[in-house]
Structure formats: C-alpha cells, structure tokens
Amino acid sequence: METTFREESADPRTQSVPLSHLSLELGHLYMEDFAAGAGRLREQFTRVKPWADAARLSVAGAAGARRPRVSTCFLVDDYFTRFSSPAELVPMLLAEAEACGLTIDYLARESGCATADGVEPASLVEGRLVESPPVGSNGSRPAVREIGWLCNGERSPAAGGGEAMSGATAWAAPAETGARRHSVFMDVELWDDGDRGRTWSCPFLAAVWQLLRLGLLRREGRPVLQAVPWGGERGAFPRSWDDLPPLVQLNPSAAPFAAYGTFSVLPSRFLPVEHAVRLVLGQVALEEAVLRQTAERADREGFAVPPAVTDRAAYAFYAEP
C-alpha cells in the first residue's frame, strides 16, 4: 500500500487569473497632460484611435476563429504628483475617450503599482530581479541590486565604485551584454531611498504595470491587484484618489484586465521609459507555475504567446504636436 502525506503550508498552490488576448493601453496621464486641459486629452485620444483599431485587428487575426478578448486600460499618475480628483477627472476622461470612439474598460492608479490592497507589487518584483550576468560572473560577486540600479551589461570600471579602492583604475567603456559589435548600454535607476522611505522610479513602476497587465504576479500564490467594479450604483467618483481602488473596472461587460500580451499606445517621449521597462522585464525571474499556467492555457486556445516576457509587450509611439 502506498501512503501519501501532505502538509498544506509545505506545499504551495498557485491560483490562475482570467486572461484576455490583449491588454490595450490607451494612455498614461501625468500632471502636465492634465494641466494642458481637455483639448490635450482629445488630441491624444484622436491619435491613439487608429493604433487601437489596428491592434484589435491584429489580435483578431492571431486569435483565429475565436472572438478576440481585448480589454482597454488607462493609467493615471497619483504617485509622483497628486493632481485633480477622481470626481473631477474620471468623467472628463471617459467623455473625451468616448468622443473619439474609445472605451476605457479599466482605470488604474500608478500608486497601485507600488502598494495595492496591502500588497507591494513593486517590492515583490524587486525580489524577483535576477541580473543578467556580464561575461566572467561566477557567483562570487554580490548582487548589485542593493544599489538600486540595473543595467544591460558591464559598467565602466571607473564608475563602478568599490573596486576603485584597490588603486588607480583606468577608464574603460561600458559594454552591453550580447551587443552586436557596438553597445547600447543602459543603466536604469529603480528607486531611491529618502527620509520618507523608498520612492520607486517611473520606469520600474511601468515595468510592474506591464507585469500586472500580463497577469504574471502572485503573492503566496494569490493574484495581485484585482479589479473592483465601479458601476452606476457606486455613484459618483470620490473626491480623493486614496478612496478610489487601485484598479477599477468601468465597463461591466469588459474582457478580463490581464492578458497574454500588452499593447501600449504612447507619446514618443515615453520611449526611454519603455526601453528601461524592457530592460527590467528581461531580468525578472517569474514564478515557474504562473508561466506554465499561462503557456498551457494559451496552448489550449491555440494562441501563440512568446516564451520571453519582454516579447509579450508591444508598443506604438506617436509624435506629439
């Protein structure tokens, strides 16, 4: 006879989340955009619309005979600067989007990438960073994540800090790992620590935002950042951002928030930020069980999902007037 013995806390389980085919981001809103007035929003949505349509068409082709599930989202910065209020901003945002033929299914607050429902998605991602090792890394050097910077290669030794103590160090160029002959070296600041605690950088929160949209984050096996429906019966939007859940579902018939892939339509000035996002995404080791779940589900649906997480995020950058 074979006996099995299992202890619940010794054997974790990972929950899955519902997934759309595509998470389509219609924009980020920062204070400067808001300050420029409703006209700026209208202008942005007008530019976003053709790309949003193209993304829908493209995913419809990839989803085959199935009806494509596409959810749209919009991110408002309430982390770096606080401006306006949900009561004032959200109705205007929805009206401008609608006037341009766009529907915003989900609205997220950027601070939700730092803290949401008692969970800290950003610190959770930080704990999963595994730096791409420069050639010659044998495990004996401590991780440089303590310094809060992440790069895509080997830093210039003169700028490296610690080793300079051993004597005069000749300057050498930094090198991108896996560069095609010439390097495009990038060093991204992930956070800084001040008197009032840690402030995550915009690119790092943007990387967390991508991972949330890809449905790849869990805390002790449970999903992070669940959408809270905000229908007519909930009444007006609150006067303070803190009273709005980090992620609200504005369209009751929307497809699931998280998706196999993301597509973000952004002004060109976000290009450096999103380059940094790719660098971060390329160095996050996600939970095996979550990746496996997603891959198996996509397989059953006959939908192709790239194995590398970086390749699941696509963009259109448009020029601003």
Partner: protein, 324 residues
C-alpha cells in the same frame, strides 16, 4: 526533471551545502523561523512539522556566465542561473544550498537572458562538455588560498555563503550561540544514470580541510530530490562532527565529576533530538541512506556517542541520589 523546458535531459546536477548552528541562544519557534527565511515578500516560507520542524526559504537566483570547473583544465563556458535556498531544521541548524543542473550540450553562443530566466537553476554550456571531466573538476581538491583558476569557474560556495550571511545578518537573532561549532561544507555532484542500472550509487568523502564531497549516480535525475537528500546528509554529517568535537572537548573519560557533564549539556539541550536520518528522503533515494549507514555507519557512531553521554549523565546522578 528541473527546468528541462522541453529540451534534452539534464546530464548532471551539482551543488554545495553549507551547514551551521543558528547564532541564537534558543531555537527559533515557528513564527520567527518563517520571518527569518522570508527572503522575498511574494513567496511564503514552506514549513513542515512532520517528522520534525523544517522551514525552507523561497529560492534566490543568481546569474552566472563563466567557465565550469574541469579536471583536465579544459574551459567550457556556461551561462544560466544558480538557485539557492536556506533551510532551518528544528529552529536550530541553518543550511544554505546553491545548485545548478546542466545538459551535456547547448547553443554555441550566449542567448538572450530571457532564455535562461525561464530555466531557473539550469546552466547551459556553450558547446559540449564532458560530464566526468566537470565532475572531477568540481569535486577535486582545490589549492587553499587565492587561486586564479578557481576564481574564474562557477563558485557555488560563494553563493551559498552569501545567502547564509544574509540570513544570519538579521536583527531577529541574538547572536548568542549556546556552544561553539564549525561550519561544514558539502560539495556534491549527481550524474544521470541510464535506466535499468539498478539502485542509485554514492561515494562520500571527508577531506582533511573540512570539505565533504559526494558523488551520486541516479536514474531519473530529480534535482530537487537530490538537493534535499544532500541537505539531509550535510545536516547529519554536521551533527556528528559537532558532537564528536563536543565530546572531545569535554575530555569525557579523563575528567571526573560534573565538568564533563556541564560541557556536554548543550548537546542534550540542542542536538540529540535532531538525529533523524532519511526523514525527508524519498523512496527512490532511500537506498543511498542504507548504503551510508552500512559504511561509514553514521547512526552507529552517533548512537555510541549518545550512549556515552547518557551513561556519563547517569553516573553523575547516582551520588546525588545516594545522598538524598
């Protein structure tokens, strides 16, 4: 199979375990053990109470791109991630293990990092390697002191040591160990044996400088299972080593009276109940324990030492009873 991800089977798994006494006056209860090993906020510490208290930290990955050790001096570059974890037994003995597994061949150039990230704990050679050569290089004695060759090859010991330091550096611990003990190092290498080659085989060596090496050959190489076995072996080897040293220091047999008993008291308080060889070894690797019990006979030696300690305690108790 770990991290196979649809590719060829792993040809070998190797690792290094460092074992030490937790630097705290009393053994840690469950809640504190969990806090100690909470290396990441998203993954719970795994905890088990049967047959003994056993807590396992979430795994930590470290990227490497360097040569693998080789006895012949051939230098095969390999890229991938090393996985490390910390384990606390009965809130008293702390272990850190760093390990990697590798197929016999891989792409001839380094691939994008994402390729390696989805294979945690797998290091892939650029080109082809010789498993016996790497095994001999990995388990072979290395010269003491700085050695340029050793520094350039993958250093699992350094990764394990750093993890130990990270755990031991927490303010949760009062740093008042109840007795003196030394850290032990076990370096292990497991090769994949073809099916039908009989039960798994092992070769355990205790080197003079405190390094233990273990070579294993097992069919159906399960990296997690083998790593668990090696941790268990390292734990018992540490217990035995520590008890031998304690009995030695107590001058049992040459010192009369309560001194020897006082010196041995920490063993009774903190060590004797930890002996449980094979408690967490699965059925497939159980024959390895049986072999090690026959030779060198861990439990035989442990029992003898424990009996000596108990006898001594009993002897010391008699006069008091007579006086009463």
């Amino acid at each position: 199979m770990t991290g196979g991800a649809g590719e060829g089977p792993q040809a070998f798994v190797c690792g290094e375990v460092r074992t030490c006494l937790l630097q705290t006056s009393a053994s840690l209860p469950r809640a504190e053990a969990v806090r100690l090993l909470q290396l990441r906020s998203d993954e719970a510490v795994r905890f088990s109470e049967r047959p003994n208290m056993y807590a396992v930290s979430p795994e930590v990955l470290t990227g490497v791109d360097c040569a693998l050790p080789a006895a012949t001096g051939s230098r095969v570059r390999a890229v991938g991630t090393v996985r490390a974890r910390a384990v606390l037994t009965e809130g008293r003995v702390l272990q850190a293990t760093a390990r990697l597994s590798s197929p016999v061949s891989g792409a001839d150039r380094r691939l994008p990092w994402g390729h390696y990230l989805v294979r945690p704990g797998v290091v892939q050679p650029l080109g082809r390697l010789s498993v016996p050569d790497v095994a001999a290089g990995f388990l072979g004695a290395r010269p003491a002191g700085p050695d340029r060759h050793a520094a350039a090859t993958v250093d699992l010991g350094a990764i394990a040591e750093r993890l130990l330091a990270r755990v031991l550096g927490q303010p949760l611990l009062d740093r008042r160990a109840p007795f003196k003990s030394r850290r032990t190092r076990l370096r292990w290498f497991a090769v994949h044996a073809a099916d039908g080659q009989g039960p798994p085989a092992a070769e355990f060596t205790v080197a003079a400088d405190g390094l233990r090496t273990l070579w294993i050959s097992a069919a159906g190489l399960d990296a997690a299972e083998i790593a668990g076995f090696c941790e268990e072996l390292a734990l018992h080897d540490w217990l035995l080593t520590t008890l031998i040293r304690m009995v030695d220091r107590s001058r049992l047999g040459s010192t009369a009276g309560p001194e020897a008993v006082l010196a041995l008291r920490p063993a009774v308080d903190h060590l004797l109940h930890l002996w449980m060889p094979g408690a967490r070894t699965g059925a497939r690797l159980a024959p390895l324990w049986d072999g090690l019990e026959r030779h060198p006979g861990f439990t035989r030696q442990w029992q003898t030492l424990v009996q000596r300690i108990r006898d001594q305690l009993a002897l010391q108790a008699i006069p008091f009873r007579c006086e009463a």
